[in-house]
């Protein structure tokens, strides 16, 4: 179905782009006695086109780390470099999908998706045709004239993905995007996200606290410790692609999942003992 759509060379546009370096980044909020270390000194290398999940308990700082890549949060120490350029502020090269609904409620679905291309200086017609192409990609072209609140949660997130992709970003940052969806919708969304990713080859950094989601989606799962967050394990997931939900029954999947779970369990135990010490 995707082949019918006319993208401006989707793969060529992001080819070789989307390399992320997180160099010795630590993030502290507040100053003085109120200072709170959210992310401990962390370094990560993400190759162009890689699908990386950051997995960790809630409040561990994984979203903060993602926000540093997005440019919303300035690292206290260290730096984030995307394709050789230091991240200083948010930009259209790093598309963002949020957990909460973040479509502009006063714009129609179509206007929301056309917004990015328009900001990039595209003409009304070209922004419009880009919007239609991406709405078709997520199967929502018919709903262009609706307002976001008229759509279900899953549909809104699909529009959110279409909106982020409409700028042809080299990196797609996703902050627990399916966290608020019901289990069935989430599975569907995961499969279609992989489909889209295969088509675009964009680097994806996907934050989640769901082990199954991380293992199912990722090339690599970075497991974060409890707060203050740091990467404690870098797990390569060498499951064949394309992946479908049937994968969950295979022994490789179960092994990878078990390894992640064990790591998290050991970490939680350590954190628990630390608190009681």
């Amino acid at each position: 179905m995707l082949d019918v759509l006319k993208f401006e060379d989707p793969k060529a546009a992001s080819k070789g782009k989307g390399h992320i370096s997180v160099n010795e980044v630590s993030i502290t909020f507040g100053t003085g006695p109120d200072a709170h270390l959210a992310v401990e000194t962390t370094s990560i290398e993400i190759k162009a086109g890689e699908f990386v999940c950051i997995l960790g308990p809630s409040g561990c700082g994984k979203s903060t780390l993602l926000n540093a890549v997005a440019g919303y949060v300035k690292p206290t120490t260290g730096e984030v470099i995307v394709d050789g350029v230091m991240v200083e502020k948010p930009g259209p090269d790093r598309g963002m999908v949020f957990q909460q609904y973040s479509l502009l409620p006063w714009k129609t679905v179509y206007e929301n998706v056309a917004f990015g291309p328009k900001m990039a200086g595209a003409s009304r017609t070209s922004a419009g045709s880009t919007a239609n192409t991406f709405l078709e990609l997520v199967g929502l072209k018919k709903f262009g004239n609706r307002y976001p609140a008229e759509l279900s949660g899953g549909m809104q997130q699909r529009v959110g993905i279409a909106r982020a992709l409409a700028n042809y970003p080299s990196v797609l940052l996703m902050d627990e995007p399916f966290g608020a969806l019901d289990a069935q919708t989430r599975l569907m969304m995961q499969e279609s996200l992989l489909d889209i990713w295969k088509h675009f080859g964009t680097t994806v950094v996907f934050v989640t606290h769901d082990v199954d989601e991380a293992v199912f989606l990722a090339d690599r799962v970075l497991i974060m410790s409890a707060a203050p967050g740091r990467i404690i394990e870098d797990v390569k997931i060498e499951l064949p692609r394309p992946r479908t939900t049937d994968l969950a029954a295979t022994s490789e999947y179960i092994k990878a999942r078990q390894f992640c779970l064990d790591t998290i369990k050991a970490e939680s135990r350590r954190a628990f003992e630390d608190q009681n010490a």
Binding site: G91, L104, Y147, S152
Partner: protein, 294 residues
């Protein structure tokens, strides 16, 4: 008429999209309920009419028996006398001049208040410095009633007309500023972040996120501001001026023309209500997305 239109819209929307989503199903389900809503509105309209009829009857009763029990009604004109006076006045040119002058004053003062009020509110909402700088003035000046401004306004402004407009403008200004500020402060941060990641400049964030997010609150401020501006206008017109519906009312009191006092009061009430309704009607199209959201 309007309610009938409203009742039809969601139904056709649902019909036009048989393939639609859960929300559309909800529309379809709630559509048969809408006639009830119309009946609800009809019944509240009926109750309102009943209430007004009872009020006028009571008014008639207390004036016809010249009730004097702590409150004295012996000098209060009866509804019939007031109605006759009203009918007589609307046939004179001078009465319409009074109304026209008042409406012109409202239009000028209110327009200035809208432009300045929204502007100041937006700036205060986006700049902590501006907010801290301007807020003390608002806190101190806002509680001063319009009547208290009259002496100073006369001294400050070159003409009576300009002092009346100044007083009216002040009344409308504060609700508009404060509601705009409140609206801007409620901008969801996630939406700001979202459009920043789509390449929006500071100005684009302002135009596409901050202002639309504040619009519902601004619209409420505009409606309140219109009510308050009538309030203030009358204070200004009572003391100075030779035209205006406030002057008409005060003049009737000076001439001991009791039915005209009540005519003036009622006309003021009607004009205030009508202009507030007009403000609501003008702002409604900008909030269309909210209606679709509900």
């Amino acid at each position: 008429m309007e309610t009938a239109l409203k009742a039809e819209a969601p139904q056709t929307a649902a019909k036009g999209r048989p393939d639609a989503v859960p929300r559309a199903h909800k529309d379809a389900v709630s559509a048969p309920k809408l006639p009830t809503l119309t009946r609800d509105q009809l019944s509240s309209l009926g109750i309102a009419c009943l209430s007004l009829t009872i009020g006028v009857l009571l008014w008639h009763l207390v004036t016809s028996v010249n009730l004097d029990f702590y409150i004295n009604f012996s000098n209060v004109p009866s509804p019939a006398k007031v109605f006759m006076a009203f009918v007589a006045h609307i046939q004179t040119e001078i009465f319409w001049t009074h109304i026209g002058v008042s409406m012109r004053r409202i239009l000028i003062s209110y327009s200035i208040a809208v432009v300045l009020g929204i502007g100041i509110g937006l700036i205060m909402g986006r700049s902590k410095f501006a907010r801290a700088f301007i807020m003390p003035y608002i806190e101190v000046i806002r509680p001063i009633p319009a009547v208290a401004w009259i002496p100073l306004a006369i001294l400050m402004w070159p003409t009576e007309e300009s002092s009346i407009i100044y007083i009216t403008f002040l009344g409308a200004l504060f609700p508009i500023v404060l509601n705009t500020l409140h609206g801007v402060e409620q901008t969801p941060e996630v939406l700001v972040r979202a459009v920043q990641s789509l390449g929006a400049s500071r100005w684009a964030v302002f135009r596409h996120v901050v202002i639309p997010a504040a619009l519902p609150s601004i619209a409420a401020g505009l409606a309140i501001g219109m009510g308050v501006s009538w309030f203030s206008l009358l204070a200004g017109e009572i003391i100075s001026g030779q035209y205006g519906i406030g002057y008409f009312t005060w003049d009737a009191y000076s001439l001991i023309n009791y039915q005209d006092i009540v005519v003036g009061m009622l006309v003021i009430g009607l004009l205030g209500t009508a202009s507030t309704a007009a403000v609501r009607a003008i702002t409604r199209p900008m909030l269309k997305w909210q209606e679709r959201t509900r």
